[in-house]
């Protein structure tokens, strides 16, 4: 393990070059952090201060529920994500090659849709309880006990099975990048497969796993649809209640700031988890580990560990949607549907491209300049945990200010009104997506860049390449898999994004998500099941590309062509 940082390197570059990265990074961080600054502003200077009321009634209860949900989900996604990732990486069993990509599928289903589907199945009128009543002759809900799906337990259940792919994706990439030589050393020194997993593979993958859990928990923190539907009173629910019910944006922003506290806690945990260590392979000899063939009971257990999450997180919800979509197909398959789909696709693809570019810029700037820049890049990532609706207000404020300032200037100078240039346009929407999901892309890019040995940079730089050229020729090709992964997650997340889209969108503008919401919020999801299913399908395509890219990006990949393999080992 090399402990070198690159800070020493950047000081040896010509100052003008280093400064470009730092100034650029500063600018990007400032722009991206503007909405959060705006939220802090309305929180600190509210028109009507209800903080004392919040602190004595709402905050303690909702904070406790939020903490409980995060702990439950954290454990859930860690267990499911890590176990399945290790099994498909290190073992061989029936269906492994299918599981390898299929385990990503739940990523494509919005949590609130899964929540809706399971309520349908597990509630009193659903098929499960109906069957039980038929079998045992019960009549009403008072005759027997059945776990209530609309509860804290239900929320943890649903969200764990939808969010675990974040951990799976990163853990699997990390397990794949581990050279067998490292694991073999452990085995030859007398450690069993379990011990090797626990003492070598797991610690090596820890940064990736922690990033995955942190992402899943931020997603948990910002979720509104699921917790609202399940009547779990978290801080996000409080934000909406204070805003919707009391019409008090200042109070809502104050709660949002408390939530930011949770995020900062998460980020620090992630940092502490890494304990300042950076993990690099120093051996240039890479060899893929042979997989252990499982037999008997273990074979079955491994199969179930991978099959159950896919069944619960994807197959059942998608099946229910498919059934509704077929029944209501004639109502839904029309011109409007294609317009929604096109809007969703273009918006999400643009957001993904921009978010990944910025993520690379920030991550590389951090690599070049060390800790100071690191703190800066963190600020830009807070947007992920701000509930969409609050972020939307944060976007509206600076955009409207800029637009109105330009308008005033134009009126004064030329006597013409420029109106609103950015507000209420698709530009504002893309900006909101980028701010909201930048953290997702950044986490993946940074974790991946961190695994490239600093000696690579040193070699490139001593041969005369500047930082930009080194990034383009050395780093980008090496982290290609992670870039595609990052872009894909941003794309799928943007497709699913709802609250900010509702508030910021232009006139007569619907995406698939807003269309689904319109009906789902009225307990009529079936009427928009086709759109919901399309979000899911659109989510699947990148999942497939992603999984192929991951397999091919594996150093010494066995599935690649021999030429590919050679190219990769040469680095």
């Amino acid at each position: 393990m090399s402990m070198t940082t690159l800070s020493s390197l950047s000081s040896s570059t010509r100052p003008s070059q280093g400064r470009v990265w730092i100034l650029g990074g500063l600018l990007v961080a400032l722009i991206v952090a503007a909405p959060i600054g705006a939220i802090a502003w309305i929180a600190l200077f509210p028109t009507e201060n209800i903080w004392p009321h919040l602190a004595s009634t709402v905050l303690p209860r909702h904070s406790w529920n939020t903490a409980l949900l995060m702990v439950g989900n954290g454990i859930g996604v860690f267990l499911i994500g890590t176990a399945s990732a290790w099994l498909v990486s290190a073992c061989d069993f029936t269906g492994r090659r299918v599981f390898e990509w299929a385990l990503l599928l739940p990523l494509a289903v919005p949590a609130y849709i899964v929540a809706f589907v399971y309520t349908d199945i597990l509630e009193f009128a659903g098929p499960v309880q109906g069957l039980l009543r038929d079998v045992f002759g019960w009549q009403t809900a008072r005759d027997y006990w059945f776990p209530e799906i609309r509860s804290m337990g239900g929320a943890i259940f649903v969200m764990s099975f939808v969010l675990y792919p974040y951990v799976y994706l990163l853990a699997r990439a990390s397990f794949h990048e581990q050279s067998s030589s490292v694991l073999e050393v452990s085995r030859t020194l007398g450690r069993g497969p379990w011990q090797t997993f626990l003492t070598v593979a797991l610690p090596l993958a820890r940064p990736a796993i922690v990033v995955g859990i942190a992402l899943a928990l931020m997603e948990t923190l910002a979720d509104f649809g699921t917790v609202d539907y399940f009547a779990v009173n978290t801080l996000t629910v409080a934000v909406f209640n204070v805003w919707l019910g009391m019409g008090n944006a200042g109070g809502a922003a104050q709660i949002a700031l408390v939530m930011l506290g949770f995020v900062i806690l998460l980020i620090s945990l992630e940092r502490i988890g890494r304990q300042g260590r950076q993990y690099h392979h120093t051996s240039s000899r890479f060899q893929a580990s042979p997989r252990v063939r499982l037999r008997g009971g273990r074979h079955l257990a491994a199969f179930l560990v991978c099959a159950v999450p896919i069944l619960i997180g994807f197959l059942i919800p998608a099946g229910v949607l498919l059934r509704h979509a077929i029944v209501f197909f004639d109502d839904s398959w029309n011109q409007a549907f294609f317009a929604f789909a096109r809007n969703s696709l273009t918006l999400s693809a643009t957001a993904a491209l921009i978010a990944v570019s910025i993520a690379v810029f920030l991550a590389y700037g951090r690599r070049l300049s060390g800790r100071g820049f690191g703190a800066l890049s963190r600020i830009a990532l807070l947007g992920y945990a701000v509930p969409g609706a609050v972020l939307a207000v944060g976007v509206i404020i600076p955009f409207a200010r800029i637009d109105n300032a330009i308008d005033s200037l134009a009126r004064d100078l030329f006597g013409v009104s420029t109106g609103l240039i950015l507000s209420g346009t698709i530009f504002a929407l893309v900006f909101a997506y980028v701010v909201r999901f930048l953290a997702v892309g950044f986490g993946a890019v940074e974790a991946s860049l961190g695994k490239i040995r600093p000696t690579m940079d040193m070699a490139a730089r001593s041969l005369g390449a500047g930082p930009g050229r080194t990034l383009w020729r050395i780093h980008l090709p090496l982290v290609r898999g992670s870039l595609i992964a990052a872009g894909t997650i941003v794309f799928v997340d943007s497709m699913k994004e709802l609250p900010a889209t509702l508030i910021l969108r232009p006139f007569n503008f619907d995406t698939l998500a807003t269309h689904v919401y319109q009906f789902a919020s009225d307990e009529q999801l079936e009427r928009s099941a086709l759109s919901a299913l399309t979000i899911v399908i659109a989510g699947i395509l990148p999942v497939i590309i992603l999984s192929r890219a991951l397999r091919q990006a594996r150093p010494g990949a066995r599935t690649g062509t021999p030429k590919d393999t050679q190219a990769t080992t040469r680095g």
Binding site: T57, G245, M246, A389, I503, F507, Q518, Q524, R548, G560
Partner: protein, 349 residues
């Protein structure tokens, strides 16, 4: 191979960006075109679209809509004098009041508007106008609650005899808050708090779901009575899957303080920045006209605010609405207090 995947992903995203450009320009043009009117709506589009379509057929003026359940007043406020919005539509008195309080509305008075809308349903200077009335009523189980036993008043819901038998949606939803505010207006804060605590202790389950979900719970035997807006009865009867829920209950019009049933209004307000003011006023007048008012009643089962407009058959069959006489702006003013009361008694826990 790998390089190609990478380049492909980049190309696809780049193409997407190109596709978006023209879209932005098209959207911009939409908002400044003079033959149009722009609406920020808290109401679900499918509920008001038929009226807008009728308006466009009548006048040739196109109606552009942004629908969201929250944040539109904030957006309006920030956009300031350059806002493209002409009108704002809400589902309750509270948000009409919010819009008015935050100074984004403009007064408008025309002979037709004043003649159509009774004084009780509009702001004194014409800053907002009510469009429909919605009554908050009780749904009772046909099987388990006899007509004689059914509660005749909201106050009775706090009676311990209903312990474990009532379902409601979350206490801080605008409809429940308005009811609580009306309780405060009639009985004072202390009695209202006792009432809310009594109601909470009678709940069969933690508040969850919307008004329809409570009727569903009755049909499943989880509870015996629920609170909900009147128009859901008609909407459920029209829905394939929800028909059975509505069949399990009958509507009861309770009184508050012996006066009448608590009602809320949906309404509209002209914005201060309105760039298409003439079209906006035209739309306002159209919606208070007999045709639109009758459509509200026929399609959404809401009560017209305009006197003499015929009500849908179903509304007539549900019985005559005798509304609470308390002034609506008084109720709206007590909303913040009601909201704090809901938090104080921990209604949603």
């Amino acid at each position: 191979m790998r390089k190609r995947t990478f380049a492909l992903a980049g190309a696809a995203a780049g193409l997407a960006a190109l596709l978006i450009g023209p879209g932005v320009i098209a959207q911009q043009q939409a908002s400044v075109n003079s033959g149009e009117v722009n609406v920020y709506s808290y109401r679900q589009p499918f509920l008001i679209q038929p009226m807008f379509d009728a308006f466009t057929r009548d006048t040739g003026v196109k109606v552009n809509v942004v629908f969201a359940k929250k944040g539109l007043v904030e957006r309006l406020k920030q956009e300031g004098r350059n806002s493209p919005a002409d009108l704002i539509f809400t589902v309750d008195i509270g948000r009409l009041n919010d819009a008015y309080d935050s100074g984004v509305t403009a007064p408008v008075e025309t002979a037709q508007l004043t003649a159509n809308i009774p004084a009780a349903f509009r702001q004194a200077d014409g800053h907002w106008y009510g469009l429909t009335q919605r009554a908050r009523i009780i749904y009772a189980s046909k099987d388990r609650v006899s007509k004689d036993d059914a509660p005749k008043s909201y106050e009775e819901l706090a009676d311990p005899k209903w312990a474990g038998r009532i379902c409601t949606r979350a206490g801080n939803h605008v409809y429940q808050v308005a009811l609580t505010a009306a309780m405060i207006a009639h009985h004072g804060e202390e009695k209202a708090e006792a009432w809310l605590r009594g109601l909470k202790s009678n709940l069969a389950r933690k508040p969850q779901g919307n008004d329809r979900a409570q009727v569903k719970a009755i049909s499943e035997g989880e509870c015996d009575i629920s609170l909900g807006n009147n128009y859901y009865f008609g909407l459920m009867l029209q829905n394939k899957e929800q028909f059975a829920w509505a069949q399990a209950v009958y509507p009861v019009f309770p009184t508050i303080d012996d006066t009448g049933t608590h009602v809320n209004i949906s309404g509209m307000a002209l914005t201060k920045a309105s760039p298409n003011r003439d079209n906006a006023v035209m739309l306002m007048e159209f919606l208070t006209g007999d045709l639109a008012q009758q459509m509200y009643s026929e399609q959404n089962f809401e009560y017209p605010v305009v006197a003499g407009v015929p009500q849908a058959g179903l509304l007539r069959s549900m019985g005559e609405l005798k509304a609470d006489t308390m002034a609506l702006d008084r109720v709206a003013a007590l909303r913040a207090d009601a909201f704090k009361l809901v938090d104080k008694v921990g209604y949603n826990d």
